[in-house]
Amino acid sequence: MIYEPSWLAVVVFMAFVVGTVGLSFYLGSRAQSSEGYFAAHGQIPWFINGVAFAGDYLSAASFLGICGMIAAYGYDGFLYSIGYLAGWIVALFVIAEPMKRLGKFTFADALDAQFNSRGIKLAAGISTLAVSVFYLIPQMVGAGVLIQPLLGFPHWVGVVLVGVVVMMIVVTAGMVSTTWVQFLKGSLLVVFSFVLVVMVLARGLSTEEVNSLEVLGPMAPPSAGADSIAGRRVVAAESGWEETPQFIRLESEAGAGYDVFVIDPVGEESEQVYLREGQALTTAADKSLWVGGVPLGTGPDERQLQPVGSVTELPGGAEATGPLGPLEYLTTLQESEVTLWGSQPVRHPDGGVTMVYYPKPTPGSQVLRPGEHPTFAGIRSGNTLDRVNFLSLMFALFCGTASLPHILIRYYTVKDAAAARKSTIVGIASIGFFYVLTLYLGLGAMTSGALDVTTNNMAAPLLARSLSQWLFAIISAIAFTTVLGTVSGLILASSGAVAHDLLSGFMGIELTGGQQVRVAKIAAMVVGVIAIVLGILFKELNVSYLVGWAFSVAASANLPALVMLLFWKRTTRQGIIASVVVGMVSSLGWILLSADTFQKVYGLPADQAWAPFSQPGIVTIPLAFATLIVVSLMTPKPKEVGAEY
């Protein structure tokens, strides 16, 4: 679709940026010491810290990715919401308080508390960097992808803008300003998502037409060589189109070009079919874009893709429901019929590709159950490996949250273990509430008549646009600031790993607190520049699954060491190092050899992949636990045990 950038969104976003950068400079004087830079002097009030958890954790992937997935496939996106939230249970009940007691500035501090080992600092520092960079790339690419439709700038402007603003936030006042930015972002995100959901419920569901796409029939199935259907000439199926007999092209009534239709059987008892109009976007060999055979554009002889997303049938044949309660909304949808959109590429001999987007009328009851998305379809197919893959993903989400370095360092910003506990509870409340909202945002977008068939990442902002221009501007600006909050946390975690764990801890370079802060600021700039470069380089790649990598690697490398350290007195230094290294290498190796990576990164057929399924967690997390136990038993007992656990 072609978006008109909203100047209102630019203004709202700029106001936020100026506000946060101004705040950072104002707070800058408070963060000159290393305690201030890395841990905000441990003086952040627990409530603020709790909301900042939400600001840190709810990345663009959560907000845009989950809403988009629910809008396109229904319940499946919500599975991520459930897994991401469940991870906080591990954080609260197992990790929060000991983490606060053991550590000082970084995740490596906590692992190393009893041992003072350079090996642990090295291993934990590297795993922090690896996880943070995997997490950073999709955030930066996301910033670039967002900025174009939302604010009207090219991709690189978005990446550079986010990079520079975040560097300013992190360098001026480290953890102090990062916390306040995340607090602001977390509150804005939750409050405005709530406003949006209230408006969605007040609007209710309706069967109003959202575009001018037609349905022909029911009719007898068209014969293979038919010249005309319903009085319109058939465009001959050639140059690739003969491979997809389910699609029929009819000459456009408007003149040039064609309309594409998908043949859809009426039902099992009837031989007849409907012809449902879809949309065809051709990327020609010379990269020019065409819609239905005419150039993409808004001019007189041009066409653009139409918005989609509608309810086709409401219970009892009603046309509109009026305002609905939150539960009523779901029960009504369950008894309705909605139109989801599938896509199918048609490859042409000259190197061009036409993506055909076609409507799939779907009963609401199917939308509200797991198993529609390709990633999860395996749980309905009965294939055991697909089921193990699903279990593995849900396991990694559960274990991953409490091992993400940028989340863990937030435990050092509060004054004591009780404050760590309270702030986690506030975090769970705000994050859980937000995830409940994601279901309504996604379903609202699914039925808003505002979806873009080419990308579902825009679902939440487009839903807002279907309600009001103002809300669109605000939600767009918030989506963009979502990136700022998460990226600052990641850059701060990385700079701590470089300055505190690797340079000062592992290489043994003696640094005073002030010098450590200076080194950390330089490291933050370097990581920031690397993030900008990667964000521009990976522009073309669909990188949202990198967040999944980060969760799997974090859960495999960090969680076993942290948990065993807390609950098994026999854990040794060598055991921890081995566990972090084995967890990191095995999960990364598995990912690099998996079908997902073969397909999306190397462009190789998925069935050549070496790993039996894509998600490593269910193998590599137990492997890291086992490694720790075996190596610890083979090495001498630690002399003294510091913690009470």
Partner: protein, 80 residues
């Protein structure tokens, strides 16, 4: 419950609540993976099991977190 330090008490309470949540989460994941059809069954007020169980897990996380926050004993010495 007599001679145990607040820290140990809190840790035990945390583990108990963790185990409870784990059972429910595991149930959800296993039903989704091995009996996905059950998720379509209408169970409560016209809502299907997928919605009720999913919302239930989010609500349970919050309720357990509140129980933990309320039940934990203070274990910090006052600081200067």
């Amino acid at each position: 419950m007599h001679d145990i330090s607040p820290r140990r008490f809190n840790s035990r309470l945390g583990m108990a609540l963790f185990a409870l949540y784990l059972v429910f989460y595991l149930g959800f994941v296993l039903v989704s993976a091995f009996a996905a059809d059950w998720m379509e069954a209408t169970v409560l007020g016209g809502l299907n099991l997928a919605i009720v169980y999913g919302f239930g897990l989010i609500l349970l996380a919050f309720v357990l977190a509140m129980i933990y926050g309320w039940g934990c004993r203070s274990d910090e010495e006052p600081r200067a």
